[in-house]
Amino acid sequence: MNAQVLALLLRPAPGQGAVLALPATAFAMVTALVLTVVGGAQKFWSWTDPDAGLYQALAAIALVLLVVPLATLGGAAARLSARRRDERLSTLRLLGVSPAGVTGATVLESTAVATAGSLIGVLGHLAVVPLIGLIPFRGEPLGAESILLAPLGVVAVIAVVVLLAGVSAVVGLRQVVISPLGVRMRTSVPRVHWIRALLAVLVIAFAFVFVQVFPGTAGIVITITVLAGMFAVALAVLNLIGPWALKIHAKQGLRRAEKPERLLSARLVLESPKAAWRQVSGIAMTSFMAVFAGTGVAFMSTMSATESAENLALAADIRTGLIITLVGSFLIVAVSIGVNQASSILDQRELHRSLHFLGVQMTTVDAARTRAVMSPLLFTALGSALCAAVLVFPLVGITVITAPLSLLTIAAVVALGIALVWFGVRVTRPLLGTAFQPA
């Protein structure tokens, strides 16, 4: 494919501004969030005193918590960018362009959009740094200058985001089956087997035995390594059970569905429980941590009469870190879901138009897609929170009585996060509305 044809293909078509702006915005968000999170963590690693290890371990856990939703968001942005090409790709195939040429054009565009988005993200990061710098840790604000990454670090983050966009574009193209007439066929539902639950139980049993034999007097490095390992195991178990649990939940919803929107939403989840899980998986671990760590911190704060000032400050710092992680995680998931929804709406534009012709109200379709997001989200968030509450049951009981305000704060942040995700779906409503406008 020569440069002139490539330039013609990459030229934005009239009316496609929003389609380009959406992934660019998502990439900007990803870059800004990664820079902010890594920048914040950088400050923790600058400490060298004896307590620094604990802060660094907690920061590492927070980073692990944010990696999953960030990767999901990056993937969603890249898929949205690649989908824009579907129709033109079919035309290219008809014109005799090789699959490699088609892939090249798509990857080039996705990376161009990602680069533009990332550069905007850097500006966004610079804009929020003064605010993030005000957050207090160890009795003093973090400071804006200590959060800023070195120029090489910024370039590295941009490179990773652009690389992610390119890889996701290639993977996305492989997943989208395009016939020469551009008809995308979805012939079979991907299977999610119960064997996942069995595997998860085996992993939990192994982890339980491992914890029993682990020496209680191990050094800090070993303890942190084991803690990180346990965290990875917990994530793996959640990823094994999650899609299967969502499938069972959606199947129950399907059986009970009496209203069209309920039928549609259950089927939307069952279409790909793995995709539904990918959207909300970041919330599962965050919600688990919110209750688990939130209860612990609340419990620590009730011991003010006996605890030292250092420990009280540590409890306050952990609470601050927990709330930041919760807000960050929900924010990323909300943006990710917004991007996924926008992508899906653009993909199904013709179908929505036909539903409008049939007299179906936009509110019905809107309710179905909102439910298809919120139902797995609530199931995941509340399910994970319940699991954590069961694990620390006696502590929850004590803190409900002794420190209800601390627990209420965590609950309020989780509720706010859920509202944020709902808002992520809601902002794409005008885009859906364009298919339902009278001709």
């Binding site: 008809v183 066929m185 979805r186 012939t187 079979s188 539902v189 569905a257 009496e258 209203k259 069209p260 039928l263 549609l264 089927r267 939307l268 069952l270 279409e271 013709e350 179908l351 036909s354 539903l355 409008h356 012709f357 049939l358 007299g359 179906v360 109200q361 019905t364 009278p438 001709a439």
Partner: protein, 255 residues
């Protein structure tokens, strides 16, 4: 049947030849007067008059850009004309001004009284065949079990028995189009609008789909309006209307 809002209802004087109940079967089911519609500087409809009798099958033919799809959309209340009026006379109840009322009311009219079949079927890929059909009833408030039973009956009638739980991607083009026909008919729509229903099918499948479409509409005393490029499809309709540059230039009764 759903009772339309008062501002939708018209006096029967608005429709030609509507004197008594017995004569209602000969009454035009659809009547369009002086329809005009422009998109920017393009005139899609330039004063179109058309009357469709109950139980008739009318093929609308014309070159690309002649205005035939716009005519179908205006007749069905999807697109509002710049001028002119379309009236619909249901078998029971007052005459309805299709071009009047709000978008919400027109949507309700389409949902409850009209059926649609599109070129690509445009079925919901996540739903099974039977769910796609029963959804049309559920949207109108029919309980799911009753909707599914009714949908299953239509599937059996159209030779789709045993395919209820198949997803749309698992059906052939002809089977998917018959599901779309069942969806258009399951609500008891008196008037079915089809836009190139056989456009994406081979000739044998096209014949089968037209058989199903005609049997389920005119074969049941209902009315069919079909936009087509295919002269063989048009030949199977009771009347062909040719559109050119936004005008009806010819209306012939098939032999």
């Amino acid at each position: 049947m759903y009772l339309l809002p008062a501002r939708f209802r018209l006096q029967t004087d608005d429709m030609p030849d509507a004197d008594d109940e017995a004569g209602r079967m000969n009454t035009p089911v659809l009547h369009a007067q002086s329809l005009t519609k422009t998109f920017g500087t393009t005139t899609a409809l330039a004063g179109v008059d058309l009357t469709v009798a109950r139980g008739e099958s009318v093929a609308i033919m014309g070159a690309s850009g002649s205005g035939k799809t716009t005519l179908l959309h205006v007749l069905a209340g999807i697109t509002a004309p710049d001028a002119g009026r379309v009236t619909y006379a249901p078998a029971a109840g007052a005459v309805v001004d299709v071009t009047g009322g709000s978008e919400r009311e027109r949507s309700r009219l389409r949902r409850e009284s009209f059926g649609f079949v599109f070129q690509q079927g445009l079925l919901i890929p996540e739903l099974t065949a039977i769910e796609n059909i029963s959804l049309a009833l559920m949207i109108n408030g029919t309980p799911r079990r009753a909707a599914m039973e009714h949908a299953a009956g239509w599937m059996a009638s159209l030779g789709l028995g045993g395919m209820e739980e198949r997803r749309i991607g698992e059906l052939s083009g002809g089977q998917a189009q018959r599901v779309a026909i069942a969806r258009a008919q399951v609500t008891g729509a008196e008037l079915v609008f089809a836009d190139e229903p056989t456009g994406a099918l081979d000739s044998q499948t096209s014949t089968d789909v037209m058989n199903a479409l005609l049997w389920s509409t005119t074969g049941q005393g209902r009315t069919l309006l079909v936009v087509t490029h295919d002269s063989e499809v048009a030949a199977r309709c009771s009347r062909t209307v040719r559109v050119r540059d936004g005008h009806i230039v010819d209306a012939a009764v098939s032999a």
